[in-house]
């Protein structure tokens, strides 16, 4: 027994959350990040935090970590020099991709940079057919030559992708063996291990991204593990993956591609914790920062999983939480286009020079300027007085927009916030309405610096009745790390008709996946009684190309299993597309096994309820634009940290805290719950 530690390492701050298992005590610590080597801030921060509590590193029983190292390396092109070995005739597939151009109308748009330059892509003779049989054996001599060439060219990493490697692994395995003989110091990724599914380009892209990031991630985790060991921390460290589960550092170092969405998925995991904390509500998360916004939908305590996504232009096949990102946030610039309409984004003012109100010389208004002018944000200071702002500069910038469209500055600023809400609505519709979910059945969870500022408008636009604002967004992510299961996913692809399938065949497919899961459980030292698995299969009508994920009931596989699959598939197809095709053949495509190890999760203790009157937290008043009234009205200002459970803040009001501001509009009220979350509802 001891402390469980969650560390969320972001671009600006490293948030550390400590939870004492015996007492349920929660402590929070925040230190500036060290972008050149994030492990420095992490180890010193954890040491400081433990020191403050009078605890020793030996007392840490669990260490969970969310990181943007892999994502940032991908965005900034800081991966290593990588070579590619492919089936002869197909080495350029990496560059051709799906042969579509990056933008339909913009003839000046560029494709994302190809991660392996052409001279480092080598085709080797070998060919497997679609049934897994070998038409042409691997030319091992040619492969040996390729390995030597890549070594001579100075690559650090090699990706191997042969056609149909998911059906016949021997050629890639031979290539791995030869590379380990000829080029043992290289980081090597083979597609049958990284993404054993059909569609060769996406599999190749995933394998290449993995190889490109491998040495970066390996180096980072190596540093972090060493510094943690040096400080005396013995607990096995774990890392969040894009699927929201955690894995050990060894697995993460082999499969960095599985962690590219570690950052945003940590936020979703945190929201899951929040859902559990507040009685299992279904949630839509709205994490709005300065330049981008992430949204996700959580139903029944789970976030939908997708098998593939395009991350910064690179297709990646890996189990990922269904998180939708839009490139818009508080720093998005506002302009009037040549047709006379107001547009928000896609350009952003960034941290410097930042919005016009910062006074660093920008004259183009941003969303933040609209909020400062309307006084949703304190028109004098942000960050509780740490950063002065200039409302007059915001006004001057906004006036250029207002004049062009013939509106008052206030109307234009108000309109800008409506456009932001419309853009965000579009993103939320993708993960809700487009997947067959009605947002009105969900609670909106607002976090990120700008989330609580815009949440009420967004909720109104989507007719969502409830908004939840957690105590501190950054810390929430760190807390989420303490509530995550250890999990990973295994998959294999083999087409089979549901009508003619033999139950024992299906059982054998899953038994194979179970064996792989057992090996993983053993490598992570998971006791037998904590091991959990769940089977799903991707199903479609024979001839379709997009599958619907269907749960496969546990227990014996027999005809009734098939009936259950059929039922769930037909219901899912009808929900998504509004029709089923009676009598058409139903086909099974990819079999998946989710392996999960239940960890002892942190449980947060409720605080005692106080009075409903929030007067104790009242810190002032100011005029704030009231959208309903179409004018500025006096709003009460409350300090978030002074609010106690039971308090009810009636709108219109503003609730201020260091890292965000919550707008409670007229007609809504905000309750403080026993975990200090704000719950906003119409009254």
């Amino acid at each position: 027994m001891g402390w469980r530690v969650g560390v969320d390492s972001g671009g600006t701050f490293t948030d550390i959350c400590l939870f004492e298992e015996e007492t349920g005590r929660v402590e929070i610590w925040k230190v500036p990040s060290t972008p050149h080597d994030p492990s420095v801030a992490i180890s010193t921060g954890v040491a400081e935090a433990l020191d403050r509590l009078g605890a020793t590193p030996e007392a840490v029983a669990y260490f969970g970590h969310g990181t943007t190292v892999a994502t940032n390396a991908l965005i900034q092109g800081r991966g290593v020099s990588t070579g590619l070995i492919a089936t002869r005739g197909f080495r350029d597939l990496l560059e051709i991709g799906r042969q579509k151009r990056p933008h339909l109308y913009d003839i000046h748009a560029e494709k994302p940079k190809t991660l392996v330059s052409r001279e480092l892509r080598i085709g080797v003779a070998e060919r497997v057919r679609n049934d897994g049989s070998v038409e042409q054996p691997l030319d091992e001599d040619a492969l040996r030559t390729a390995a030597k060439e890549l070594k001579a060219a100075g690559v650090k990493s090699v990706a191997i992708t042969f056609l149909y490697s998911f059906a016949h692994t021997a050629h890639e395995e031979a290539a791995l063996r030869i590379l380990s003989e000829e080029f043992p110091e290289a980081f090597v990724s083979a597609s049958h291990r990284i993404a054993p599914e059909f569609r060769e380009f996406e599999r190749m892209s995933t394998t290449v991204v993995n190889a490109y990031l491998g040495p970066v991630m390996k180096g980072y985790l190596h540093n972090l593990e060493n510094s943690l060991k040096e400080m005396g921390l013995d607990a096995v460290p774990h890392l969040t993956q894009s699927n929201g589960g955690v894995i050990g550092f060894d697995t993460a170092a082999e499969m960095p591609v599985r962690t590219v969405l570690s950052g945003p998925s940590t936020g979703v995991v945190a929201a899951l914790a929040l859902s559990e904390m507040t009685g299992g509500q279904d949630l839509i998360t709205f994490d709005m920062g300065g330049t981008s916004t992430d949204v996700a939908l959580l139903k029944g305590g789970e976030c939908r999983m997708v098998g593939e996504a395009v991350v910064h232009g690179y297709p990646i096949k890996a189990p990922m939480l269904d998180i939708h990102t839009v490139g818009a946030g508080g720093g998005s610039l506002v302009h009037v286009d040549s047709g006379g309409l107001i547009k928000v984004g896609p350009r952003s003012a960034g941290a410097f020079p930042g919005p016009a109100c910062y006074g660093h010389g920008t004259t183009e208004p941003t969303v933040t300027d609209a909020n400062v002018f309307l006084q949703n944000l304190d028109p004098r200071y942000l960050l509780r007085g740490r950063m002065p702002v200039h409302r007059d500069l915001a006004e001057a910038a906004l006036k250029t927009i207002a004049d062009q469209v013939g509106m008052s500055v206030a109307e234009a600023a108000d309109g800008i916030l409506d456009i932001v809400a419309a853009n965000m609505t579009k993103a939320i519709r993708v993960i809700s309405v487009q997947r067959g979910h009605d947002p009105r059945d969900y609670t909106l969870v607002a976090f990120g610096g700008a989330g609580p500022l815009h949440a009420a408008r967004l909720a109104a636009e989507l007719e969502m009745r409830r908004i939840l604002v957690p105590l501190t967004p950054g810390i929430l992510c760190a807390m989420g790390l303490l509530m995550t299961d250890l999990r990973t996913d295994f998959a294999s692809t083999r087409l089979a008709s549901l009508d003619t399938l033999d139950p024992s065949w299906l059982e054998e497919v899953f038994a194979n996946l179970e064996r792989r899961a057992d090996a993983w459980f053993a490598s992570e030292n998971i006791p037998l009684d904590a091991r959990m698995t769940r089977r799903t299969v991707d199903v479609r009508y024979a001839g379709q190309n997009y599958e619907i994920s269907v749960a496969v009931p546990g227990g014996t596989t027999d005809r009734s299993t098939f009936e259950a699959i059929r039922r769930e598939f037909l219901a899912g197809h009808d929900q998504l597309y509004g029709f089923t095709s009676d009598g058409e053949e139903i086909e099974l495509v990819t079999y998946r096994l989710e392996a999960r190890a239940g960890i002892r999760k942190a449980r947060f203790k409720p605080r005692p309820m106080g009075a409903s009157d929030p007067a104790g937290a009242l810190i002032g008043e100011r005029l704030v634009w009231c959208r309903q009234a179409g004018s500025f009205r006096t709003h009460k200002i409350y300090d978030r940290l002074l609010l106690v459970p039971g308090n009810i803040v009636e709108g219109p009001a503003i609730i201020d805290q260091m890292d965000t501001t919550t707008v409670v509009p007229a007609g809504m009220e905000a309750h403080v719950d026993v975990y200090l979350n704000l719950v906003m509802e119409a009254y």
Partner: protein, 553 residues
């Protein structure tokens, strides 16, 4: 400046302020996008589910585009003729919710070639026609046919009701399916098209419930006015003047070379484009007027302002003239199946003409074609199979960057089919899919590289291939050299094809080379370190390096 007192904002004017227009415009865009996803994800045929050869759109009640999803620009041609034809043929009287019109004909059905089948459904709100949901999908069917006139090219359908007030008209469907070579796929794809429109109808009704149908309709009109303003603003950036360009067109169907030319008159914020082309021919390369319009709208939008919304308003300042009965404005009974390849050349003409005044916005010639290959045969159970694909090539180099390698250019933008999907579904094996060394035109910025794709037939089948730039080369700009021509090659023993059509046997090999893009700028200005990288990468070989000769190579 004097203070101007603002007029009080009334409820009416408020409902149509620029914010509402923007919000409703964004809703239209998300509806057509969602319709497109539904169509792709629930369809069966490889041409739609993987290659995404389909488009979705919303139209206003009178048949003007409100919004088109970003799939295939060519498909706009099928849309702009369709709703007006329905209104002309059937009128508003008797039009009911749940009616669904199907059609494809190039002369009486609003289409641009017969395999693009359009489905349109009226959207009613409060008992009034408010808008249309419409989509088109390229059905891989009607293959292995003649192209002397349109009667050889497939079943011609004017807009007729496939559903009447929600009830399937099985006799119409049966008639259509009996004329199809792969009826099972056709039926399933029609279901996917239905699902896409149903969704569009539902979403538009929700939108009208929320804002009121009047507001949505008014915003639709405002958005068209807005696109018009954007287009006018874009045209105004082009100096007034007369700009001309001409080019040669070749294809696999005939020996002749056609002369295409354009004369563009820019005056203020308006533009007139006058095209000259030979008389229409007994070949599939003819283009109906709606296809020409879709091509011009695409080309001008992509050159002057790619971000303007794709609706009918952008067409207002543009006048398009081409003689009736010529290749670029054909009339009944000209065959039209290969119109896309001709249209690709029309885009090149417009770029070429505007290059002297908009050098930083146009590109050198792209592959100028849409190489396609179609395989068809019979399965052991007697049913037929059809596989069609189109292959990208190089795009033209730009003012300040190289052209894109191996992409679909201009009027099309379909995906390839993964090898691992193709070989499961069809008796074809892919032997190579790669970029072609030295195929991009040299220049300070080089043209994009073409693609080499090699097939092996695993059973006897009929094959059709088509394309252009096989006997000419995509031109460069400002001293840039032309890209390489494309072509087809067969293994020994294959009986020579006639007009791109023939038979292959099991084991025969077909090799396709698509053209590269033209270069931009004098090659001697290409920096030596970049040339060295070209040589390392093989985008140029040492034999080509002489064009960079004033530099050390």
């Amino acid at each position: 400046m004097a203070q101007v007192k603002q007029n009080p904002v009334t409820a009416e004017s408020r409902s149509l302020n620029p914010i509402t227009i923007e919000v409703i415009g964004s809703a239209f865009a998300s509806i057509v996008e969602e319709m497109g996803e539904t169509l792709v994800r629930s369809s069966y045929s490889t041409n739609i589910k993987e290659r995404r050869d389909c488009s979705t759109a919303l139209f206003d009640a009178s048949g003007h585009t409100l919004c088109q999803a970003e799939h295939v620009p060519m498909h706009l041609g099928s849309f702009i003729g369709f709703v007006p034809l329905i209104l002309k043929k059937h009128g508003l009287v008797g039009l009911r919710p749940g009616d669904v019109f199907i059609g494809n004909d190039a002369y009486e059905g609003g289409g641009t070639h017969l395999p693009d089948i359009v489905l349109a459904e009226p959207i009613f709100h409060g008992g009034r026609l408010t808008a249309w949901a419409i989509n088109t999908a390229h059905h891989s069917d009607f293959v292995d046919r003649g192209h002397a006139h349109i009667y050889q090219e497939g079943l011609r359908m004017p807009p007729v009701r496939l559903y009447r007030a929600g009830d399937l008209q099985e006799d119409i469907q049966d008639l259509f399916l009996l004329n199809c070579q792969v009826p099972r796929e056709r039926l399933s794809d029609l279901r996917a098209q239905m699902a896409a429109n149903r969704l569009g109808v539902r979403r538009m009704i929700d939108l009208c419930d929320k804002y009121g149908a009047d507001t949505v309709e008014a915003a639709g009109q405002e958005l068209q006015d807005y696109a018009e303003r954007r287009m006018r603003a874009g045209i105004r950036t082009i100096p007034d003047g007369i700009y001309t360009f001409s080019d040669r067109f070749d294809c696999e169907v005939f020996e002749a070379l056609w002369d295409f030319s354009v004369r563009i008159i820019v005056r203020g914020d308006e533009m007139e484009l006058r095209f000259d082309s030979p008389p229409q021919s007994r070949s599939p390369m003819n283009v109906v007027r709606t296809a020409l319009l879709a091509t011009v709208y695409y080309a001008v939008k992509s050159i002057v302002d790619p971000s303007m919304p794709p609706n009918a308003g952008l067409a207002r300042p543009i006048t398009v003239i081409a003689e009736e009965g010529s290749v670029l404005n054909c009339v009944h009974p000209a065959a039209v199946d290969g119109r896309l390849t001709s249209c690709q050349r029309v885009v090149d003409l417009i770029h070429g003409a505007l290059a002297p005044v908009l050098p930083e916005r146009v590109t050198a010639a792209g592959n100028g074609s849409c190489f396609d290959i179609t395989f068809s045969g019979q399965r052991p159970d007697g049913s037929l199979w059809v596989y069609l694909e189109t292959i990208g090539g190089g795009n033209g180099a730009r003012f300040d960057k190289d052209g894109l390698d191996g992409v679909h250019v201009h009027m099309t933008n379909t995906s390839n089919l993964p090898v691992e999907a193709l070989e499961v579904e069809y008796p074809i094996t892919l032997l190579a899919y790669e970029l072609i060394d030295s195929s991009g035109g040299a220049g300070e910025f080089r043209g994009g590289m073409g693609i080499r794709r090699v097939y092996r037939a695993e059973q006897a089948c009929r094959v059709h291939y088509g394309g252009s730039r096989m006997r000419s080369q995509p031109w460069g700009l400002d001293g840039g050299l032309p890209g390489a021509s494309g072509g087809f090659r067969f293994s020994d023993g294959v009986t020579p094809f006639l007009k791109g059509v023939g038979t292959v046997n099991a084991g025969d090999i077909i090799e396709v080379f698509t053209p590269g893009g033209g270069g931009y700028g004098d090659p001697t200005r290409r920096p030596p370190n970049v040339v060295q990288q070209d040589l390392r990468e093989g985008s140029f070989t040492l034999a080509d390096a002489t064009v960079f000769q004033s530099k050390e190579v």
